[in-house]
Amino acid sequence: MTYDLAIIGAGPAGMAAAIAAQGQGLVTIVIDEQPAPGGQIFRGIEGAAAQDRTLGADYAAGATIARNFRASGVEARFGTTLWHLEPDDEDGLCTLSLADAEGTDTLQARRVILATGAQERPVPIPGWQLPGVMTAGAAQIMLKTTGAVPAEPKRTVLAGQGPLLWLLAVQMLRAGAAPALILETRPADRIRENMGLATNAIAAGGAGMLWKGAKLLAEARLAIPIHRATTGLRAEGDQRLRHVAWDGGRFACDLLLLHEGVIPATHVPMAIGLEHAWDAAQRCWRPMTDERGATSHDRIAIAGDGGGIGGWEAAVASGRIVGLDQARRLGRIDEAGFGMAAAPAIAARRRALALRPFLDAVYAPGAAVLCPPDDATIACRCEEVTAGQVRAAARLGATGPNQVKAYLRCGMGACQGRLCGPTVAALIEETRGLPPGTAGLTRPRAPYKPITVGALAGLAE
């Protein structure tokens, strides 16, 4: 079966793109690893969590999007992993290699939208590999999919910065499991320094979002002790986390939830060789796209946070714009038709992004997050390679992550460099005196996720 359009990812961008494309008559399929639509932001949105008011109004909004997606009748395959994407097959189409519980198979599509979203930025502090150190997003996924909270809130600490950290703190608070302490890493004067960006945001329609954020912060600050401008974070313990320590303090805990913002998930776009650029404002790599999600490959587009972090509302608008543009490229609508259909989404995206420059500046990750100063800190969790080993390899002459991979195996473990990639690149840049974003990223290879030889053999039958 040949589809007009295959969309990878059923988060806000993927769902919106699918509804828009299907609405223009494109034969569309959506593929997602999770058992249900929602992506990470709306994980569990079709389950009991949709009734859990402690998660907040933004999360609840996902239920409507998921319902509209289901009602659109777009074909969807859940529990299905894309493990290879060939954008130039012998038929002049894209071939997608998929794996699910039944085995592996392939399908062809004339065009592909990657709506693979974001991942949390790695927070490589000393001891972050200890059992009991997790991301804030991980704890939020426990809330959304499992209705679970930390068993010992008095021994639970949140550390880092960014909107998600405060949202999680308030969600835990409302669920009766407020963390004992928040160690905020934002430097003291960041907000004052960026008041100009806040003013711009308000002028661009971002006042509502700013107010929402301020209310969230106020709710957390009233109830939870906060240590501000925290530096020197480290997790301590032998076989598991026992303490979190920082410059001037130490606290006994068995769960430490880290967060320093989110970054685009570049794994698949890097693997298929799309051009990427270093985003100096967001301190991360992202695939190069135009305002309609077009990439350096003619048949591949990107929608949502995978093309740069904007949040779920921007992702919905982006999905709609990119979905409509696929219909234009396949001749279902002309340029004028695209302009008419996409105009509301283009305006909505502009509003949704109004606050972003302020957030990017206020919550910019510190140098120690991007590039761990202590040589003993683990950079690559899979292969247990330290920052010091990466620095030594860079001094020996390794110019980029792909060479360091050959020297030290970082990027060859199970995660294929998803988590260590940015840190390894930053360590090389620091050692070699290069500007940020010049050492490149690891080039991932298929299979994008491990599959068994048995499953692969099944493809030949």
Binding site: A48, P131, G132, M134, T146, P150, A151, Q239, R240, E384
Partner: protein, 100 residues
């Protein structure tokens, strides 16, 4: 390490984490079951044998690799629980020739 709020979910499923029965809400993943069971390791690393627990819970870090129903190297944060599922700690590298 985590506990399921009693009000939050109606349906629960019984699974076995290292042989012990644990009831977890429907919709939970195998990794979530290990966190609710209160284990302090889900795997031991292939390089040094150090204990690990899930870190990201969203399919990125692969620190939640576990043996599920006899199959090693499963990304347990991506595997929804099913009744009677057996989830065991993965010790080091997967043994070649073992099931899976």
């Amino acid at each position: 390490m985590f506990r399921a709020q009693s009000k939050a979910h109606q349906e629960t499923i019984e699974v076995f984490v290292e042989g012990s029965a644990v009831r977890v809400p429907q919709g939970a993943t195998a990794a979530a079951a290990v966190l609710i069971a209160g284990l302090f390791r889900i795997r031991e690393t292939a390089v040094t044998g150090a204990p690990r627990l899930p870190y990201c819970m969203m399919g990125v870090c692969f620190d939640c690799l576990a043996e599920i129903d006899g199959v090693a190297n499963r990304q347990s944060c991506m595997v929804p629980v099913t009744p009677g599922m057996r989830i065991n700690v993965q010790h080091g590298a997967r043994q070649t020739g073992a099931a899976g």
